[in-house]
Amino acid sequence: MNITEEKKDGITICNISGEININTSPQLRKSFESFVEANTAKIVVDFSQVSYIDSSGLATFIELLQRLKKVGGTFRICSMSQKVKNIFEVTKLHKLFEIFDSREAALNNFL
Amino acid sequence: MITILGKTIINFIKNISGVIKLLVDILYWLIIGPFKGKAAQRQGIFNQMIFTGLRSMPIVFFVTIFTGVVLAMQSAYQLQKMGAVLYVASLVAVSLCRELGPVLTALVVAGRVGSAFAAELGTMKVSEQIEALETMAINPVRFLAVPRFIALFFMLPCLTILGNLSGMVGGYLVGVYSLNINPDLYIQTTFKYLEIKDIYTGITKSFVFAVIIALIGCFEGLNTKGGAEGVGRATTRSVVISFILIILADCIITSIFYFSKL
């Protein structure tokens, strides 16, 4: 798994590639921790290169959402593959997250 | 008749090798386990220490204090004839620390804790819980037997010290209030003849007894077969076998100390 981040108009865009699983999710959590500490209130995660996400990965995103809610931040996910979308749907988490089909759509709606 | 005898002997050998295998397994997880990042759970050890140690204190206390009382009265009856009533104090202290304290405590704990090990693990075995642990890639010996073994190994000597002390209190009560020995003099005589080696021979025994109780309890539990009846059988067997082995081990250790003049 690889994480790269870029900033655009005060929004942090996070590109993740590869598998998010039990071995890699702690690394993801660590990099999110730095975002929240840095008060980066607007985060978009690009899922287009994510091939698989397991429960520990989902849990990491839920924790991030909980933390951002406390500091009044926004968190969005975009460009999921159907396979990854299925995982969100079977756990009913697609209702919890703001999920967009494309990166543009996710970035546009920010106020 | 011969076939029954043969079967009994085969079973006996099977059980002995089973117990030895369990001991090797426990030692493996105890010594090698932590280096593989698979140490026994601290929470589990702590819970077992509460159960085996703290909760056994009342019964150990009552059993040994009354033994101390009986011991004092019995020896006073003999020593009075020789006009040596004062020596009740040292007789009670020495026989408690060397012999009665460790053995009585071990027997009480075998009845209370060893049987509980067998019953608990036996129930887990017959209700597929042990199999569930195995399918979850959790070794039952590491997860269940090791915490119990560690807890008892450290708690039984502590309970033995408690037993020694409360037994001496029992002797003191008889000595001071019934035999009218001066309290200071009683305490003085107690420690005058009590040597440090009396205490450590007793404690050495209690470590051995702890190994016996934990091993037999866990072995019987983990090898339970056949439903509720099997659990009952395992529990009874664990108590009977521990009792016999404790007395046997006591006999061996005492004779080692006796003949090597320790």
């Binding site: 849990a59 924790e63 756990t91 | 887990m124 597929e128 569930a132």
Partner: protein
């Protein structure tokens, strides 16, 4: 973990497996393949050897003859840590749930996570909540297994089985002892898990309702032998007398529950 392997490749493969108990052949030269992502049901009467088959596949029992490949590894030959590595990638739901009595519901579900991962406690807590809500159980985290109903225990057992996101889940009589509604709920969960998460499910049952609800393929076991491997649709129209007797629950037929040749007189020694 979902692998991109082709669906036709067997994930579990039994080759000429035989198992003896006290000299009796319980499993007799059984061979079959279970494919990636399918729900494979093994059905048969009590004592037909289907539970033994399951225990052979999980490595609890070792066969005397033949080999059992689970994800390419011969589970009948490996032991210790190597076996544990394979076991971490599958989950199992037991007939009587087999939850640890001394642990609460949440501790039962978190046990594999705490034992096999180095995830932070906060993450584990979230995973437990996710798994429990997946099986439709909320608000019972602090209860002990003895304080909840049999149906709930089954669901906790299922949550525990999928705690580590396995790619194979074994179900030992998942609906037995449950009322039809809860049984239906469990069936729906099994189907959902296997369809959406591409989990391979191996189900042992004698509940025909459940077979028709969930199965992709069905194997009929009788006296330690595989009578037939077929699909649920073919099952109904099957001409096989064993299958006909089983799915219709007839007392008389080739499955000789009542041994007709042993007369009543023989029982009393007359």
């Amino acid at each position: 973990m979902i692998k991109k392997d082709s669906k036709d490749e067997p994930i579990i493969s039994l080759k000429n497996v035989s198992k003896y108990f006290h000299g009796n052949k319980i499993i007799d030269n059984v061979s079959f393949d279970i494919l990636h992502g399918e729900t494979f049901v093994i059905m048969g009467c009590s004592g037909s050897g289907k539970s033994t088959l399951l225990r052979l596949m999980t490595g609890i029992l070792k066969p005397e003859e033949g080999s059992i490949f689970v994800k390419g590894k011969d589970i009948s030959k490996i032991r210790g840590e190597e076996l544990d590595e394979v076991r971490k990638t599958f989950g199992m739901l037991f007939q009587y749930s087999a939850l640890l009595d001394s642990l609460t519901v949440e501790d039962n579900v978190s046990l594999p996570l705490k034992e096999h991962t180095r995830l932070a406690q906060e993450i584990i807590d979230i995973i437990i909540k996710m798994k429990l809500s997946l099986v439709g159980l909320r608000g019972y985290e602090k209860h002990y297994p003895s304080q909840i109903s049999g149906g709930m225990r089954k669901r906790v057992g299922l949550a525990r089985a999928i705690a580590l996101d396995p790619n194979i889940v074994f179900y030992d009589e998942p609906t037995s002892g449950l009322d039809p509604v809860v049984g239906g709920v469990i069936d729906k969960l099994i189907k959902e898990l296997s369809e959406k998460l591409l989990i391979t499910s191996v189900v042992i049952t004698h509940d025909m309702q459940s077979v028709f609800n969930i199965a992709d393929r069905v194997a009929m076991v009788h006296k330690g032998r595989i009578i037939d491997v077929t699909t649920p649709d073919e099952l109904r129209s099957s001409q096989n007398p064993y299958i006909q007797q089983f799915i219709n629950g007839r007392p008389l037929g080739p499955i000789d529950f009542f041994k007709e040749d042993i007369g009543i007189g023989e029982i009393f020694g007359l």
